[in-house]
């Protein structure tokens, strides 16, 4: 009964003081919404990096010649010739934790079809490459192990290459093209993948058997990389250890010698890039906290000033028999209603802004539950506290003192 009455009084007061209510809510709405939107941007970019990397194959392991790049100088990988086919064979024979593996050699050059030519990259791999990278062909078929053995001049090309050397829309599969003047028969076209997070066009590639690329294009014996995929994401770190020990043995490295190769799992790559986007998130959190603080100060100001204004009202309510606790409860209910409504509107606006950013600015976003909870809680607590605190002070006055308040 008493609570119901106080609830009525509070809602009445909220309606009577529309401007004050709206201004207070505005502080809360903007505070909550900006935190949600900013954290959504931060989380979104983090997530998009993660998905891009896992789309490359989250079990993927790469082995490159030369010591680890991280910390310290190392030689250009291309001039290192320590990775060889016998390394690959040793890995293939000894490792238990890999489901696929392929040697990789890479080079750059011109792809030519008649009068059309296009600078691109060629990768020499074996058929398992598609499974490692989790890509498919949109037409044609992958070359076979037999074609690798015979160093057949067959190629799989990406969509960008197709667009540039078959500008008239001919069917590329079955056509002859040349890469650095070596003729290749196109036997398949890769599924379109677009750019990855790092801005690389993943369709601007030519794949051919590694034997062919080694002999006919690059004229080398060594490998640039070995790519493999672990049997599972969980086993990837173990696979990295296993591969390292196989290679150390292969390269006859003594305990005092450092690795002349480096093995990396995707997981490491993910954490490297995640930590970069972590920085972005921290920055955004900082900005969001500031806007939350400003919103909070706004709420505080308006609540504080309005209670001062309403000291007279408090005096009158006490004069006609309102107890201190009644007054406090009224202001508490008011503050809760305003803060919660503002908070909900803020969440809605924040989510709306997030959708807008995603749709019209094309930024990846991901709304984090914690951002909703935290911003809502901070604003609600600020609103409620600063609605309650000045009311508590006013209700401690004698009624007549409060009534006299100017």
């Amino acid at each position: 009964m008493r609570l119901l009455n106080l609830f009525k009084i509070a809602t009445k007061a909220i309606v009577l003081n529309k401007t004050r209510t709206l201004l207070t809510m505005l502080g809360i709405i903007i505070g909550v919404a900006s935190v949600i939107a900013m954290l959504a941007i931060g989380e979104g970019s983090k997530e998009s990096i993660r998905t891009t990397i896992s789309a490359m194959g989250s079990n993927m392991i790469t082995i490159k010649a030369g010591a680890d790049t991280r910390g310290g100088v190392r030689q250009e990988a291309s001039v290192m010739e320590s990775l060889t086919l016998s390394d690959y064979k040793a890995i293939k024979a000894q490792s238990n934790l890999l489901s696929y593996s392929t040697p990789v050699v890479e080079g750059k050059g011109q792809v030519i079809n008649g009068s059309n030519n296009w600078p691109s990259s060629i990768y020499g791999v074996n058929p398992e490459y598609l499974s490692i990278k989790v890509v498919d062909l949109q037409s044609g078929s992958m070359f076979t192990e037999a074609e690798v053995q015979t160093a057949a001049k067959v190629a799989i090309i990406g969509q960008t290459v197709v667009d540039n050397i078959f500008p008239n829309g001919q069917e590329p599969v079955g056509q002859m093209i040349r890469f650095n003047n070596i003729p290749f028969k196109v036997i398949g076209v890769l599924e379109e993948k677009g750019e990855n997070t790092f801005g690389q066009d993943q369709d601007d590639v030519v794949f051919a058997p590694y034997t062919t690329v080694q002999k006919r294009i690059l004229a080398i014996d060594h490998l640039n990389q070995i790519m493999a995929s672990a049997v599972s994401e969980e086993e990837a770190p173990n696979a990295v250890i296993e591969l390292s020990s196989i290679l150390r043995e292969q390269h006859k490295l003594t305990d005092s010698e450092d690795d002349d190769f480096h093995v990396r799992s995707m997981e490491e790559l993910i954490s490297t890039f995640s930590s970069t986007s972590e920085m972005l998130t921290i920055l955004l959190v900082a900005v969001a906290s500031i806007s939350l603080l400003i919103g909070g100060i706004g709420i505080m100001n308006i609540m504080y000033v309005s209670v001062k204004e309403r000291t007279k009202e408090i005096g009158l309510r006490m004069a006609v028999g309102g107890k201190g606790s009644d007054i406090l409860m009224q202001f508490l209910i008011e503050a809760i209603l305003i803060s919660i409504t503002g908070g909900i509107l803020g969440v809605i606006l924040g989510l709306g802004a997030t959708v807008f950013i995603e749709k019209f600015l094309n930024w990846p976003t991901s709304v984090a539950m914690y951002s909703i909870v935290i911003s809502f809680a901070v604003c609600a607590v600020t609103g409620i506290f600063f609605g309650w605190y000045p009311a508590r002070k006013a209700s401690a006055l004698d009624p007549i003192t409060a009534l006299r308040y100017e």
Partner: protein
């Protein structure tokens, strides 16, 4: 003789403003018995409102004692004082003190909102009755800014009646009313007084004092005169004597 509902002894109230001290009440003592109708008179600044605020449990004296119905007010907690204000006292402020942007009926209902024994239907019913008593039955939903000064004053009077108080404290309750309306209000008060309600009425106008049974005159925070009125006039009679088309 009936018991004293108000008993004050050597009541002093000082206001400190910076280094200066204003002695609003300089030691006042008197009793008001249950069922009395007392008018308090005195020039402006003599301490009438200050005294009435203390009697209404809205303010505390600097020194001296105040007993209400035999209980020392000093010994009561803030909540007990609030309950007394809510259930026993009807207070009419000199400056009305209505809630802004709030209708007449809601202003009158206000004291009952803080009394959980009164249901919302009864609250409304009693508020309408109180407003009808002061002649504002047609103005239930007008807000403060839509009412004349006299009408606002009558809303304030209705608010003091709505909780069926045992004691009404009125600070210049007719100050803003024309003769006819103020006589109407006075006859209402006389009626309430006959029903046993104790009334303490601050006024400037000597003719209002003739409707009361006792008059206390203040000057500079001290009692100048305190006399019984042997010839109490009936406000209803005086009202009847007024020319008909007064307004």
């Amino acid at each position: 003789m009936s018991k004293a509902i108000i008993k004050i002894e050597d009541l002093k109230r000082e206001f400190t403003m910076g280094t200066e001290t204003v002695h609003a009440l300089r030691g006042i003592s008197f009793d008001i018995k249950e069922g009395e109708f007392v008018t308090i008179m005195g020039s402006s600044g003599s301490g009438k409102s200050t005294m009435l605020n203390i009697l209404g449990c809205l303010d505390q004296p600097t020194s001296g004692t105040y007993q209400i119905d035999g209980v020392r007010v000093k010994d009561l907690s803030r909540n007990e004082l609030a309950t007394i204000r809510n259930e026993k006292i009807g207070f009419i402020f000199q400056s009305y003190n209505l809630l802004a942007r709030t209708s007449a009926i809601e202003n009158v209902e206000l004291p009952l909102l803080y009394n959980s024994k009164v249901s919302s239907e009864e609250r409304r019913k009693r508020a309408i009755e109180a407003l009808e008593k002061v002649g504002l039955g047609e103005r239930l939903h007008h807000t403060q800014s839509q009412l004349s000064g006299g009408q606002q004053q009558r809303v304030a009077i209705a608010r003091s009646l709505v909780n069926n108080p045992v004691m009404i404290l009125a600070d210049e309750a007719t100050g803003n009313l024309d003769t006819r309306t103020s006589y109407e209000i006075m006859s209402l008060f006389q009626e309430l007084n006959k029903q046993g309600i104790t009334i303490t009425f601050v006024t400037h106008e000597p003719d209002i004092a003739t409707f009361s049974s006792r008059t206390i005159v203040l000057k500079d925070g001290e009692i100048m005169q305190d006399y019984l009125n042997n010839n109490v006039q009936s406000a209803a009679n005086e009202l009847a004597k007024l020319p008909k088309q007064d307004h």
